[in-house]
């Protein structure tokens, strides 16, 4: 995807160029090494746990035996609820902020600042808020719905900010030419801006999914701890990250299945990120122009 710049000009400070190249490569190597360390650790200790039974059976003996079947289903449902609320809300807000408000618009600024603040609220506060607001005030109880909605609030700022960057990536020329061609604002949005903003949206989606699937503190208080197979969105369901936390912090002898669950979570994430990128690529190819 990336296109290395041509090494065309030896004239201006080649030593600086070489030094910076060295720096960039070593940073990449260090990060890869640390990543390999963590992943190797998870793979080494988790791989032995994985089996078809582990993926499908319900947990037994507080999670030491059995599997994570119902927990995978709950995690999936929580994520679906979270994204189906946050994605339309996030995209709508991003479009509004980048396309329909002027830079110095007071309302737009206010919304943007509120979202920045929201991104810094600690997850445990989201958890307690979700418990009070969704579970108690709205009467949803400890449920997948409460958990998904709480997560939606959490990932919203990430989603909006990244999508907004995506929209801003579209040069003003495009909008001007669209306007001069007589395209309506709505048509410009659907056919020009949205496809062009896809890379930014995908980054937001990937970061948002990552944050949602990794969240523990906010879910303990909302979607809860019940490890039974959920039968509706109003059932309580334990998320994978909550399961990992409980196994590693509360259950003696829970480390092995905790590593197994962490490995499953990472693989799940690879699949989800792959899907997000694949969908993103298809959408932006069809738009007819892409940058790289």
């Amino acid at each position: 995807m990336a296109k290395p710049l041509q090494r065309s000009s030896p004239s201006r400070s080649p030593w600086l160029d070489r030094l910076s190249a060295f720096g960039v490569w070593s940073v990449a190597l260090i990060i890869t090494a640390i990543f390999a360390w963590i992943m190797g650790d998870i793979l080494w200790r988790g791989a032995g746990q994985i089996s078809w039974d582990f993926l499908t059976l319900p947990p037994q003996n507080a999670g030491r035996d059995g599997g994570i079947g119902p927990i995978l289903v709950s995690t999936g449902l929580i994520l679906v609820v979270c994204l189906s609320v946050s994605l339309p809300l996030g995209l709508g807000t991003a479009v509004f902020l980048s396309e329909f408000t002027a830079a110095d618009n007071g309302f737009g600024r206010l919304v943007r600042r509120s979202l920045d603040i929201l991104s810094g609220v600690p997850s445990i506060v989201f958890g307690l808020f979700g418990y009070t607001f969704f579970a108690q005030t709205l009467g949803l109880g400890f449920s997948i719905l409460s958990g998904g909605l709480t997560l939606a609030c959490m990932v919203l700022p990430i989603l909006i900010r990244s999508a907004e960057e995506g929209f801003r990536a579209v040069p003003a020329d495009y909008r001007l030419s669209a306007a001069s061609l007589g395209l309506s604002r709505t048509a410009t949005l659907w056919h020009l801006l949205l496809p062009a903003a896809v890379p930014g949206i995908v980054v937001g989606l990937v970061l948002g999914i990552g944050r949602a699937i990794a969240e523990t503190a906010a879910l303990i208080f909302t979607s809860g701890y019940v490890d039974r197979m959920p039968t509706s969105l109003l059932d309580s369901g334990r998320a994978l990250s909550v399961h990992i936390f409980d196994l590693s912090m509360n259950v003696p002898g829970g480390d092995a299945p905790a590593y197994g669950s962490a490995l499953v979570l990472v693989v799940l994430l690879i699949l989800l990120n792959g899907a997000a990128n694949w969908i993103g690529r298809r959408l932006s190819f069809q738009s007819g122009f892409h940058w790289r």
């Binding site: 600086l16 160029d17 990449a28 509004f96 920045d116 990536a169 962490a262």
Partner: protein
Amino acid sequence: MVWSLQAIAAIAGALVLLIAAFLIGETLPVLQKVGFLPFFTDPAWNPTEALYNLAPMLWGTLFAAAGSVLLATPLGILSAMFCQYYAPAGIALLYRRLIELLAGIPSVVYGFWGLVTLVPLIGRLHPPGPSLLAGMLILTMMILPTVALTADASFAKVPPAYLQGAASLGLSRWGTIWGVVIPAAKSGLLTGVILETGRALGETMAILMVCGNVVQTPQSIFDPIRTLTANIALEMAYALGDHRSALFVSGLILMGLVTALVIVADAIAPEENHG
């Protein structure tokens, strides 16, 4: 169309008010009783003995967040440069997937890894091990993907014409990046920094596992610290009455901190910060 979008944006913006209202509601009992000042002037944090000094934890939060942002920002931006301008296409793609994965590893796993691997390592260097340094390093790893991915996206959208122009002017690769790409991508980079700082301030579970959680103002990076978030997570499970209320004050102060940060960012970079 515009109105519905505006309504959606209003909902998104109002969330923060809802959460603030909720926090203030929960903190009122203790604030009415002792006021706001004791949270900075009491001799210690001993909520069961009605002492509520949060200042050391405020410093702990600030040091940990500042250290990790200072580390993660250059690392993340260099990573993004690697992806965009240095690595061959195949490696860049792989590397990007890797960073995306790092973004989704649960904080429990980072904390777990930090507790069994990083902390004993630091402990051998300078006991006890759980420390501000451990917190900074773990946080750096956790927030690095945020800044790397946002920087990558904003580099990707620098119009190719800029790069071609720079090349035809005979600028070197680094000269192009430094002189052309970075100024053009400034807004995206700043977004990344704001997002990562928010994440660093708000991170809970991993930091709780590696920082030692002793309530003190750190004198060196090897001292254990407690952050405001860890304070909530550690004590909320058993807190009742005023103690519980006081923990929500931690949350409120944290939110105030983020608000201040956002205002400062707004003042420093008014022209890049909004479209």
